[in-house]
Every structure is written in C-alpha cells, then in structure tokens.
C-alpha cells in the first residue's frame, strides 16, 4: 500500500479467503465438523514490501501463507497474484506462476532432504524445471552459495554437517534459485539459536534489497515484525483482528487482543517497568468457533453483544482497520437492547 504506484495493482491480493479442514467425527457417519483455519481474510501485499502476519500458534497464519502460494486451496474466496486468480489457472500455467513464489520453512532440520548433498538441494528447483545444463546449474548454485555466505567446499557436503543457521542459509538459496518475486518466510528464525537470529534476518533483508523481492513474514515474534515489516495483520483464531502499517499498529494498537499481545511480549529492557495485561484462559478450539467475535471469551472489555454479533473490520484511521465492537460501536437498536453493557466487571490485569 505504501510503495504502490496507482496504475499497478498489488502483487498479491486475497479476497474473502476461507480455508476449512474437515475433522473426523467421533463415530462413523457422524456429522462432519470443520476446523475453520482461516475465515474471511482479505489483504493486499504490494510489490517490494515486507508484510507481517502475526498471531499465536493455531491462529491460521501458516495456513494463510500456504494459501497465498498455492499450497492449500481455499474453501472460498480468491487469491490473485499479479492480478491473476491463482486457483482458476490450468495446472501447467499454475506451475509457471508458482515459480514466482517460493517459501522458506521454519524448521531447517526437516525441510532439507538428509540424503541430498547441498548442491542437489539447491539445484532441485532448477532441475525440476529442466531447462538448465549441469554446468549452468553448478555455476548458479555456486553464485547462490556465496550470496548466502557459504563456501564452495560446502557444495558436496550433506545437511547433517551444518548448524541450524547454515541449514537455513541453504534453504534460502534453494528458495531464490528460480528468481522468484515473492517469498513467504514462515517463522524463518524461530528454530535457530538466538545468536544466529540476527545473521539470518540481515541476510534476508540484504537479499530483498538486491533482488527486489516481496516478503510475507510469518512470525510470532512481535519485535522482529516491528523491525522489518512495513505492513502487517494481527490474526486470532483464523480471522484478522487488526491490520495496517506496522508503525501505526505498534504506536497505537486498537484491538484489545493486539494490546494484550503487545504487553505480553517480554522485553529485555529491564530498566522500564511495564503494565502487563494478562489474558485469561487459552485460545479456544478452531472447530466450530463461536458466531460472534472470536476473541470475546478472553477479552478484558467484552460486551454482551460480542458473543453473538461478529465484529467486522472497520477503518478507524485511514489504512488501519480493526475488527472490534469497542471501536466500531453498536447500532442504536443494539444499544437499546443493552448489547453494549460489559459482560462482567473484569480488570485488565
């Protein structure tokens, strides 16, 4: 939304995307139940930006990222990449489009084939595409190895010889070998040692600058998201709670969940004591979630209407939509019904 010139649309656009997964019932022929992993999500990712998806585990952030690059077919809604509806494409065209979008996985231990050498791992995408000669592939792999900070000698070693950080570098090289425009980083550093986090993040930022990539950065680490993302969404139980530029969200979080999330993040600044909002209870199950606002059971300022009426995203400030009845308010009729009264007097912490 920031760097977009008005005549070109966003690089990636999701419109009312929902992803449901069936779960087996307790006995045969019992009514099928659905995990609503992602519900009615719309967002836009512009060319060249880093877009953050933030939320707790199970909130659907990985499913959403997978739906972006064609790994999970949405139950409803459309995903448009460069203006083209990704899931209406014929399989062959779809495969071509997929080359423009790649992924870096969370766990560098399970995402690399232990029986492939580094060379085989990195060249695999080129090899599958089948247009490059062996020498061309070798030259390309070598170039990428240098780019990600590994040596020529590493080419014929196996993943087990490398540390977590080095493996993640291999994963990055594999992801960019086809010169994609769009890269989804699904928790790229959370499985790594603390002292290596900064190395990998810096590498990702350098590559973005030199190759003009667009990133979608999935993370539960708010501090990282704040530092590298321009725009972001905060997700809870499959729905977007708040979205906008990360500056706006961090400076002025509006949704009670965002506020709680921000205050729950432990900081290492020991000099500044902070008030902490402690949320009660756990994230409810995404199987048949409640009809109203999905956060209301844990919300410190829940009102009577929150349980039944879904909160819709509404722009409070320009480019900063929030899905909360506290912000959007109830209609006069609903207020007359007493839906705006607090559920129970709860303190915030």
């Amino acid at each position: 939304m920031i760097r977009n010139s008005p005549d070109t649309g966003p690089l990636l656009e999701m419109e009312n995307v929902s992803v449901n997964f069936p779960v087996k019932g307790p006995y045969p022929f019992s009514k099928k139940r659905w995990i609503q992993a992602v519900t009615n999500v719309s967002l836009q990712v512009s060319e060249g930006e880093t877009f953050g998806i933030v939320g707790e585990s199970g909130c659907g952030k990985t499913t959403l990222a997978n739906a972006m690059i064609g790994m999970v077919r949405p139950t409803a809604g459309t995903v448009r990449f460069q203006g083209v509806d990704l899931y209406s494409l014929k399989p062959q065209v779809f495969r071509e489009a997929r080359r423009e979008m790649q992924m870096i996985f969370q766990d560098p231990f399970s995402s690399l084939n232990p029986r492939f050498s580094v060379y085989e791992i990195i060249r695999e995408p080129l090899y599958i595409r089948g247009q490059a000669s062996e020498t061309a592939m070798k030259a390309k792999v070598l170039e990428l190895l240098k780019l990600v900070g590994l040596d020529e000698d590493d080419m014929y070693r196996y993943p087990s010889d490398f540390s977590g950080g080095q493996r993640q570098r291999i994963g990055i090289a594999r992801a960019i070998i086809l010169n994609p425009r769009f890269l989804v980083c699904d928790e790229p550093v959370s499985a790594l040692d603390v002292s290596v986090h900064a190395q990998i993040l810096n590498l990702l930022m350098d590559i973005q600058k030199s190759r003009h990539l667009t990133y979608v950065f999935v993370s539960h680490n708010l501090a990282v998201v704040k530092n590298i993302c321009q725009n972001m969404v905060v997700m809870y139980l499959g729905t977007i709670m708040e979205s906008g530029s990360s500056d706006a969200i961090f400076a002025n979080p509006l949704h009670p969940y965002t506020k709680a999330l921000l205050s729950a993040v432990l900081d290492i600044d020991v000099t500044k004591p902070r008030d902490r909002i402690l949320l009660k209870g756990d994230t409810p199950s995404p199987i048949d979630p409640p009809p109203g606002c999905r956060f209301w059971q844990r919300c410190p300022s829940a009102m009577k209407g929150c349980a039944t009426i879904p909160a819709k995203l509404a722009e409070v400030e320009p480019g900063h939509p929030v899905a909360c009845h506290l912000i959007s308010g109830f209609s006069p009729q609903q207020v007359a019904d007493g839906l705006h009264e607090p559920v129970s007097p709860k303190s915030g912490g």
């Binding site: 603390v194 986090h197 530092n227 999330l261 729950a264 900081d267 290492i268 949320l279």
Partner: protein
C-alpha cells in the same frame, strides 16, 4: 553459608562417543541462595540442560560421566549419594519442571493421579487426603475447576494447563529447590506470560529457590535475580540480573543482548554475532568464544581466561572484558 540452598563446585559432565569425548559441562560452580531465582542462560548445546540433569542426578551413567567436587542441597550432601537415596530427595527436596509437558506427563494416567503419587510417595497420607492436597495444589496454580480437571488426562488439557500441572507437581512437596528447564519455550506469548506469572508467584509464596534454565533472555529478564551465562560448557559471566542487562561485561553477553530485536527501538540491520556455536567435539583452543569475538587477541587464542570476580559482585571469564576490573580477587 547458611542461606545457600544449592552449592555446586566444579561440576563436569562428559559423554564419551565413537569420535572422541564430548565435554558438555566443563567445571561449573553455582550458588543459589534461599528464595532466589538464578538463571542459567545459553544457546542450545551449551550444556545448560545437562547441568540441570546432572544436579538432579538424572543422567544415565554410563553413557554420561559426571563429576563434581561438591553438590550440596541445603544440609544434604548429594555429591556421592547413591541412586536409591536420590529417589527420596527428588520430588521432595528438589523438583524439576520440564520443557515439554506433553512428554513429561504420563499420557495414560489422569493428572490428578500423577500428583497424588508424589504425596503418597513422600508423605504418609491416605489416598483421600492426597487427592485433597492435589486439588489444592491445582487450585494454587490457577487450574479452573480443579476437582474435575484432576480426572482429566494430559491430552485433554491445553498446553498452558499442562504446564501448570507440571508446576503443581514440582511444588507439591514444597521442595527446597525447583529446577525449571525452559518452562515456557513450548508456549505462546500470552500463555507464556500467564505461566511465568504463576511460577513467580508460587516461588515467592513458598519461598522456594529456583534454578531457571532458559535460552530466551526476555524470560530471564522477567524472572531471575542472578544470571549465569554459559557458553560451550563454561560459565562466562555471572551477575545480578539488572547489572547484567544494563552493563554486560563479556563480549558474548554483550553481543547476545544487542542482537535481540526489541519492540522499544528500531534498529536495522540487526547487530549480529558472526558464525555459530562451536561443535562440542571441535572446540577452539584458548577462549571458546574467540573465533566469534570482536575483541579477541593472540592471548585469547592461546589461553582460556579464568572466571575473575569484579567488584565482588560479579564474575566474568574474559581477557578483554568490556570494563576492566577495579580489583581482582585471587
């Protein structure tokens, strides 16, 4: 030293294996005072969990080889205590909270029964009395509807609830020392905040000393009184929590703190420590941190520095600490 609850002197753990010997812990000293929460911080593979297991005497020997000059829990000398007698100490006098509650709890036993066991094993209570204590223990850690929840199996509880059950288990007999090994690593941020709150509260209510094992500096900043920083099996710095975070002296601690992204400021690119932790079988000569250290010199490549105390309050193992000692104790 009457108020030292745990005193560890020169604890060493090694694992002989086919390619050589992995020296996981190379002579660490710990002193934990009554009611204090000490933290052992380090990256994966630095030996912090192994130290904890060695203190609990939970390592299988063989393959592990453990040695300590002294291992004293309050008035109990554990240095050469045989396994049989350790069983009477574990759970009653010192207890452990494990990282992954799903694997730490028995999946085919209700959580209530697992806590009952502790009371039945360590004190003379009837089953009914034990269950009453169990329910009280679960209530204390904030498990709602404790009476019915005691009859649940671990898989029926959420991650945060399971971790609370583990905390209730560890505090059941009000031990002298709790060792918490990455108690919140498997949890989400909002749940992590809840569980840390419970842990801190329990520790203060019962006046129990704690040894917190963590790799997450922000958890340490919120929990610990004293911090020991470990690197490659050795303690490289010890200080009170505030001092350590405000003024780290070892270049490793300094780099680690600087590299953590903070919400409170924007810094890009992130400050990074080059390279990675050395392989435990291929540790460098001299100071283990010197290949990654911006302050390293010839001296660092040749000799391992000693843990020297500064201002009597803190210790650092470095030839070129960020601040020179005003006085050096021998």
């Amino acid at each position: 030293m009457a108020d030292t609850v745990l005193e560890v002197r020169n604890l060493k753990v090694a694992f002989p294996c086919s390619g050589g010997v992995i020296r996981a812990v190379e002579g660490i000293d710990l002193d934990i005072h009554r009611g204090e929460c000490a933290a052992l911080v380090g990256e994966s593979g630095c030996g912090k969990s192994v130290s904890a297991l060695a203190i609990m005497k939970l390592l299988n020997t063989p393959p592990a080889v453990c040695r300590a000059d002294k291992l004293q829990l309050d008035d109990l000398d554990l240095t050469h205590l045989p396994d049989r007698q350790m069983e009477r100490i574990r759970g009653k006098h010192m207890a452990m909270i494990f990282q992954d509650a799903m694997t730490a709890l028995n999946p085919v036993m209700t959580v209530g029964k697992q806590i009952d066991e502790i009371y039945l094993r360590h004190s003379r209570l009837s089953r009914r009395e034990a269950r009453q204590r169990t329910i009280k223990a679960l209530e204390l850690v904030g498990v709602p509807e404790a009476r019915s929840r005691a009859n649940s199996y671990p898989h029926q509880l959420s991650g945060g609830m399971r971790q609370r059950v583990l905390i209730a288990l560890a505090f059941a007999c009000v031990p002298k020392l709790i060792i918490a090994d990455e108690p919140t690593t498997a949890l989400d941020v909002t749940i992590q905040a809840q569980v840390l709150d419970v842990l801190k509260n329990m520790q203060q209510v019962h006046g129990v000393s704690a040894l917190l094992i963590a790799h997450d500096l922000s958890v340490v900043a919120n929990m610990a009184d004293t911090v020991y920083v470990m690197y490659s099996g050795k303690i490289v710095e010890r200080a009170a929590m505030q001092e350590l975070f405000v003024e780290p002296l070892h270049p490793y601690t300094h780099g680690l703190l600087a590299s953590v992204p903070r919400i409170s400021d924007d810094r890009q690119p992130f400050v990074q420590i080059p390279d990675a932790v050395p392989h435990p079988m291929r540790k460098p000569t001299g100071c283990y941190f010197h290949p990654r250290c911006p302050r390293s010199s010839d001296q660092c490549q040749q000799r391992m520095p000693r843990l020297e105390s500064l201002d009597h309050e803190r210790e650092v193992r470095c030839w070129h600490p960020l601040r020179q000692p005003h006085e050096v104790r021998s």
